[in-house]
Structure formats: structure tokens, C-alpha cells
Symmetry: C2
Subunit: 337 residues, 2 copies
DNA sequence: TTGTATGCGTTATCAG
DNA sequence: CTGATAACGCATACAA
């Protein structure tokens, strides 16, 4: 390995001068600088980030800890983080906690021991300990997607309640009245807010909440399928469905297809969160799309700010969703009820 | 920050002893070890990986550099890498080069300057320089998905040619004769091998390759759409299509839908690579599925081996694909031609 | 078995 | 403006 001392010797200057040239902080004689840069090129010198990090006691790496690398929401979000981070001189490394608190713990410890410059995390549970560990260690953190109670951190969330409310209101607008809801795990803030939005839309329209039309599942495809089956089998007779995430929407759709129920004629469907290639699914799906890329961008900006101003007040960003109306929820023949 | 010296003082031993206890290499008196571990717990000591890395001149981080974080193939592959890596005591960080050679370059330099223990990379171009840089620097590397010529590295590839051949042969079996092909960028080995497979199946069946039935696109949705449109508009009159990756398949399907062509009645379709929720698309899509998770596993195993045996001969793994027959390619009424 | 001392490659402080 | 030198926190060769 070629070190800064090799370069110094080759250029006939001191190691300190090489360092100064490389970092551009202090003024250095142009002639010397020139000698240094050409020596660097000639020797193929690349600075040892580990040594540098040790000296500066921090790296230029951001850890983005997401709860599911296979969920399009997160991958799209990561793109937003990257674009800001790279521009700010940081590299982004992605860690997949896989909805597993233990893996998440491991990555957090890794981020800490590796002295990462900052962490953006979508918590895989409502356990507060892990994130608290980061905060207590003085590691800049931004929490995204899921709310964590009792922690004063920067956060970037989407307006889940309002998104769900719009989706449900849209179904009501279209003339549907027996609107079922497949909600997510109640310990996730995203799930409870979406359920709240569903209830609020019903209330606003003067419709009562019918417990027989509500199911809670696990945000997975199988869960959505089972919940839909249960709704149909128990005689709740829904004429529409609001499903609280993308995978459960897919599961519910599969159930409807299997039972030869027509969408939206027999049952209309609106799903929360984007589904890749939603246009290829028949019928095309009405969705509440989240600004995933923008979530990433904003989180990155907050993290950059937090790094430079560790003591600034915590900022909480709430981004709007957008209802994308497609075929699965188009107006039914008005029943005039 | 609490260092190894703080622990040593608290436990009444030397820093060296603390280090030994922590790493478990050397023998140390159980009583002392006990004092050390309890001091570690009491002080909340966590070792500084950066200092450790500097000393050992390597980290316990693997970089997985993929060319598209939004492609399900790669995310699934990453899961395979993770499972092996974690078991072997490494952490995995994901880097998204976004099919951009420049970003890829940056991440490679980062992996080098950060002294990563190893790199698994799916090259975003056929440029050999970047990977060569890694090799020359002695960084253990495994190349996946795409072939890189003139480099003696461990590789894990899938049998693209055979997969494409099976897909095409399947269409021939089903009675289709005018089988079109939408190929990928010719500088990617995956694309050329899939094209070769298509041609070989035609040859085996005694069918001639008709240039008017072949288009090359960019592995993206838009490209697939345009290629399909061109095939239809130029009067090539295909009765089936083999599309060389998932996104182009989706694009081609969209074109067919838009033109009210029935699949598979008017045109049968087989796509290479998995498509999430392929079962929801109507008709369901016949695909050549790749063992993405297994690619990751094998790559991880090779990397682990390469780290321990830097001078071992390069291993090249070739994994089989699997044809998953669904509705889009089912037998047409035999024309007896 | 345990402790002492040194160096990993940088950057920052301080004299010059 | 430049150079010598001391740390950063840890692991290890060597001495005890």
C-alpha cells in the first residue's frame, strides 16, 4: 500500500503538506501542490479512509437501514437519499433489516462501531431501544416511514391518515357504501394512521363503522388473501375494499380473482402504496401513491443538516400522498340508496 | 467515547488483556476475563471498529454493488448474500450503481479506501477497469450476473443461453412458428447469451432465423414497448414473442394490450427473469425464472473462500434457470402447418 | 498467562 | 507557508 509518506518522499515535501494539498484546507504553494498532485497520480496513491476516519473520528458513510429491501417503496426512497448524499460528499450504504429487530440491532451496532457519519432508518418494530442507542451515542439519525414515540428525532413521514381518508372518500364518492378495510399490524404507526383515515372518511360521510367489514392482517400478501376470504365468507357483503398496503392489496385481488368476483363491478378496490406495473394488472389498480423518492430526499437533507448542527431542534416532515384513480374503483351504477 | 483503556483501568488489567478477552484468541485467566466482561458491560464499551480496522488493515464489511436496486432480481440476490455473510461474521452493505459506470467507479473507490473485506459486483458495463482496480489492489472480488472478459475472477452466472433456449423451444413445442425476439443491449453478456439461446432453439427445430422478427432494446420498459410496436408495424407478423428481460416483457405486454391483441391467442409471450406478482397480470406470464437468491448465496460463499484463500484458482459457477409455464404461452390450436 | 511498547496512515497542533 | 511530531483506538510482537 502506498501511503502519504511515499507521496511526500516522491514529491520532496513533508507528509503534512501532502495532506494539506489533498484536503485543500490550508494554503499551499502552487508549485509544491503541483508536485504533490503529480506524485499522487504517478504512484497511484489513494488515501486510506480507515486511518483518516480514526483520526477524524467519523466516516463519510451514511447507513440507510430499511425494513424490506424487496419493497419498492424503500428502494425508490433510497434513490432519493443517494442523490442528496452523493452531492454532499457522502456515500450511502444500504442495510436490510428484513423486518427483523435482531438484524436491525446488528446493523445499528455496526453503524456505531464503524463510526458511520449518520443513519437513516425505517424502524422494523416500535422498539425504541435501538434508535435510542444511536441517539445516546451522538450519532445523527433520521427516522422515516414509521413513527417512534417518545423520541425527539428528525422524522420524515407520509400523511397516512389523510391518504387513507382520501381513498375511502373516493370510494364513497363513487357510490360505494359497504366499504371493507384490511388494516395492517396495529403496532405500526403506518397501519393505525391508515385505519384512522378510513374511519374518519366514513364518519365525515355519515356512515357508521361496521366491525364486520374490518380485518387486520400483517402487511403481507398471504394476510391480504386470508382477510379478503374471511370478509367474503362471513357474509359481510362488502361492495368495496380499502387495503392498507401494496402486498395485502395484491393478496386480496388474488382472492377476488379466484372467486370470479369482478372488480370493480362486484367489489371495488383501492390499495395503499404503489404497486410496480399497476397498469398491467387487470383491472388497473387505484392506489394511494407515496412520494417515496421525496421521502428519501428530505430525510437526506435533514441528516445533512443534523450532522452540521447536532443541537438543532428536531424537524418533523409530513409529506402528502396522491390518489391515483384507475379502473378498479370507477363509479358503479348509482343505486340511489 | 469509552476506550479499551477505560475498560482496562476499570477492570484493573492491561489494555492488552482486554483486547485478548474481547477477541478470544489467546488464553486468559477466567477470573480476569470475568472482570473484563463485567467492566465492558458496566461502562457500555463498544469497540471502535475503525481503529481495529486500521490495525488489522481490513474491515468486516462486504460491499455488494448492484446495477439496479429497483430490480427484483438484485434485491432477491442480496438476501442470499446476507444470509451467508451474517453467518460468517460479516456485515453487508449495498451500493446502487444505477447502471451508471461513474457511480460504480465511486463505490469501488469507496470500497477500496474504506478497506472493505470484499466486494460482490454486478458490473454496470463491460468496462473492465473498475473491477481490475479491485483485483490489482488485492481486494477479494466476486463478479455476478454479467460476464467480464479477460478477468480471472470468481463468478456466479446463470445459464442465460440455456434458459432462453428452453423458453424458445417451449414456444415451438406449443406450435408457434413465427417467434419474435426482443433482445437486450449487445454489450451485456446476459443479452448476447439469451439471444444465442433463442437462435439455437430455432436451429434445433429447423426454423430459420428471420431478421425481421428480431429487435434489440435497452432492457427497459419503454424499449420493450417500442420494440413490440416496431415488430407489429413492420409487418413481421409474429405469432409469439420471447423477451430477454422482465422490464421489456412488461413493456411489450403493454403494447399488446393497447392494440387489443389477445395473449396468447394472437401472440404468445415468454419473458426472461421473474416479474413480481406475475400471477396478477392477465394473462399470467410464462417466465424464465432465475435463482436469484441462490446466486447471492453462492457468490457469498465464493467471497468467503477467496478471503481466506486469496490465491485459489478462480471458480466459475453457472446456475440453471427454470421455465415457469403460465397462461401467456399455452398451446394454440395446432395449425398442422 | 500478563503487561509494555510499538505502529497501522492520517490529520491537527505547534514551531519555525 | 511548511515541517516535525503527537495523537486517534486498537492488536500484537516481545519481554517479563
Amino acid at each position: 500500500m502506498v501511503t502519504i509518506y511515499d507521496v511526500a518522499r516522491h514529491a520532496g515535501v513533508s507528509a503534512a503538506t501532502v495532506s494539506r494539498v489533498l484536503n485543500g484546507h490550508a494554503k499551499v504553494d502552487p508549485a509544491l501542490a503541483e508536485r504533490v498532485t503529480s506524485s499522487v497520480a504517478e504512484l497511484g496513491y489513494r488515501r486510506n479512509a480507515v486511518a483518516r476516519n480514526l483520526r477524524k473520528s467519523r466516516t463519510s458513510l451514511w447507513a440507510v437501514i430499511i425494513s424490506d429491501v424487496e419493497n419498492p417503496f424503500f428502494t425508490s426512497m433510497v434513490r432519493g437519499v443517494e442523490d442528496i448524499a452523493l452531492a454532499a460528499g457522502y456515500s450511502v450504504v444500504l442495510c436490510n433489516s428484513d423486518e427483523n429487530p435482531e438484524k436491525e440491532s446488528n446493523y445499528i451496532v455496526a453503524a456505531l462501531t464503524e463510526q458511520m457519519a449518520g443513519v437513516i432508518i425505517s424502524p422494523s418494530s416500535n422498539r425504541v431501544d435501538d434508535v435510542k442507542l444511536l441517539l445516546d451515542s451522538g450519532c445523527p439519525v433520521v427516522v422515516i416511514d414509521r413513527e417512534l414515540h417518545g423520541l425527539r428525532t428528525d422524522t420524515v413521514l407520509v400523511d397516512n391518515e389523510r391518504g387513507a381518508e382520501q381513498a375511502t372518500a373516493h370510494l364513497i364518492d363513487q357510490g360505494y357504501r359497504r366499504i371493507a378495510c384490511i388494516g395492517g399490524p396495529r403496532w405500526l404507526s403506518t397501519a393505525t394512521h391508515r385505519y384512522d383515515g378510513y374511519r374518519r372518511a366514513l364518519g365525515t360521510a355519515g356512515l357508521s363503522l361496521e366491525p364486520s367489514l374490518v380485518r387486520f392482517a400483517d402487511f403481507r400478501e398471504r394476510g391480504g388473501y386470508d382477510a379478503m376470504a374471511s370478509l367474503l365468507d362471513d357474509g359481510a357483503e362488502p361492495d368495496a375494499l380499502f387495503a392498507a398496503n401494496n402486498l395485502m392489496t395484491v393478496g386480496a385481488m388474488e382472492c377476488l380473482v379466484q372467486r370470479d368476483l369482478a372488480v370493480p363491478t362486484d367489489i371495488a378496490v383501492v390499495g395503499f402504496d404503489t404497486i410496480p406495473w399497476a397498469d398491467l394488472i387487470r383491472p388497473t389498480l387505484t392506489t394511494v401513491s407515496q412520494p417515496a423518492y421525496e421521502v428519501g430526499r428530505q430525510a437526506a437533507q435533514l441528516l445533512a443538516r443534523r450532522i452540521t448542527k447536532p443541537d438543532a431542534d428536531a424537524t418533523n416532515v409530513l409529506l402528502p400522498t396522491e390518489l391515483q384513480v384507475r379502473a378498479s374503483s370507477t363509479r358503479r351504477i348509482s343505486t340511489g340508496e
